[in-house]
C-alpha cells in the first residue's frame, strides 16, 4: 500500500519506520500489496556456501542468488538463493531456502510472527510471483 509520490521515485510507507532492532514491521496483507523490483542476480562462485551446497546428497549444477527491493521509504529487501533445475526437458529456476530480509511480518493482532515464521511466510510470497523470467533474463545478459 503506497501512499505518496516523491521526487526520487520512492514512496513513504505511512506509519512504518525501521524499528530500533532494525526490522521493518508490517502485516502480511500490506507486504503483499507492495511491489518488489529486481536489483541484481548472479551465479554462485562458491556453491559450497549456498543452501544448495553439500549438506544434501546432490548439488545443483547451476545455482545463484537474486535480490529484490521495494521502492519505498523505508525500503524492504528480500534476497534468496536459487538453483536451475531440469524437469521434463525444461529448465526452471527454483527457490532454495528462505529469503533473507529486513522484514518482520506481523500477525492479525500486530504481533511479530517471529524470525522463522516470518521467513516462511516471505518464502510463500516469493513463490507466488513470477521472478524466474526476470532472473533468467538478467543472468543471461550478465554472463553472456
Amino acid at each position: 500500500m503506497l501512499e505518496a509520490d516523491r521526487d526520487d521515485g520512492r514512496v513513504p510507507l505511512l506509519g512504518i519506520a525501521p524499528s530500533e532492532d532494525g526490522y521493518v514491521r508490517l502485516s502480511q496483507v500490506r507486504m503483499r500489496a507492495i511491489p518488489l523490483v529486481h536489483l541484481i542476480s548472479g551465479l554462485d562462485t562458491d556453491p559450497a556456501g549456498t543452501d544448495a551446497g553439500p549438506v544434501g546428497a546432490t548439488r545443483a549444477a547451476i545455482a545463484g542468488y537474486t535480490e529484490w527491493l521495494s521502492l519505498t521509504i523505508p525500503a524492504l529487501s528480500l534476497g534468496w538463493d536459487w538453483t536451475l533445475e531440469s524437469t521434463d526437458r525444461e529448465l526452471r529456476y527454483q527457490r532454495v531456502g528462505e529469503p533473507r530480509s529486513n522484514v518482520m511480518l506481523l500477525d492479525v493482532h500486530g504481533r511479530d510472527l517471529g524470525p522463522r515464521s516470518s521467513a516462511v511466510a516471505l518464502a510463500l510470497l516469493v513463490d507466488d510471483f513470477n521472478w524466474q523470467d526476470t532472473v533468467a533474463n538478467f543472468v543471461r545478459t550478465r554472463y553472456s
Binding site: G22, I40, G42, A48, G49, Y65, A75
Partner: protein, 183 residues
C-alpha cells in the same frame, strides 16, 4: 587451530604486524578490495586502541582467520563509510552494540577455494562463534556488520538470529549488506 583475541597492545608480540600482512594477502591480493596499503600491510582508520582482534592461528604459526570488533560508541565502518546500508535508520551509538568487520577464514596455504567447504565445522563457522563470544565477553549484546553474500549465508546456516538492515549496495558488481546479529 587456536584462536587468540585482544586489543593490538594485548596480542602476543609480533602477531599484530602478521595480522596486518594476512589481511593484505586476503582482502587486497585475493579479494581485490581497494583499501589503504602500507608495505604489504592492510590497516585502516578503525584499527585503533579500542579495536579487539580475533585471530585464528594454525599449529605451524600461520594465521588462517581473523575478525575485528569495535564498539559503536566510537567511529566504525558502517556509520562512517556505508551509512546508506542503514536504510534510513540512525547509526547505533551504544557500548552494547559492536561492529564485526574484516572477517576472514581463508587459509592461504590451503588448496581449497571455499572457506565453507566442510561446514558446519569449517574454520569460518568456528571463527564466527569465537568472534561472537569475544564480543559478548566485552559487553556486546548485538553486532552490526557490513557483509557479503557468503557471510550472510554463513550466519544464517549457523542458526544465528540475524537480519539485514535494508537493500544491499552493489560494489564491483556484487551486493554488500548491513546486518544485525543478535548475541
Amino acid at each position: 587451530m587456536r584462536v587468540i583475541s585482544g586489543a593490538s597492545s594485548h596480542l602476543p608480540e609480533g602477531l599484530y604486524p602478521r595480522l596486518a600482512h594476512y589481511r593484505y594477502q586476503v582482502f587486497i591480493k585475493r579479494l581485490g578490495w581497494r583499501l589503504p596499503v602500507q608495505e604489504q600491510s592492510e590497516t585502516d582508520q578503525f584499527d585503533g586502541p579500542d579495536s579487539v582482534y580475533v585471530v585464528a592461528e594454525e599449529p605451524n604459526g600461520e594465521i588462517s582467520g581473523c575478525a575485528r570488533l569495535l564498539p559503536t560508541d566510537g567511529p566504525y565502518l558502517l556509520s562512517a563509510v556505508f551509512p546508506e546500508l542503514l536504510n534510513g535508520a540512525l547509526p547505533p551509538h551504544d557500548p552494547t552494540v559492536w561492529e564485526l568487520s574484516r572477517f576472514s577464514a581463508v587459509n592461504l596455504s590451503s588448496r581449497s577455494r571455499s572457506a565453507l567447504a566442510d561446514f558446519p565445522n569449517s574454520a569460518a563457522a568456528l571463527l564466527m562463534r569465537e568472534a561472537m563470544a569475544c564480543a559478548a565477553a566485552h559487553g556486546a549484546r548485538r553486532l552490526v556488520t557490513v557483509t557479503v553474500l557468503a557471510m550472510e549465508r554463513l550466519i544464517r546456516r549457523l542458526g544465528i538470529h540475524s537480519h539485514r538492515m535494508g537493500p544491499p549496495r552493489i560494489v564491483d558488481g556484487e551486493p554488500i549488506y548491513g546486518c544485525w546479529i543478535e548475541l
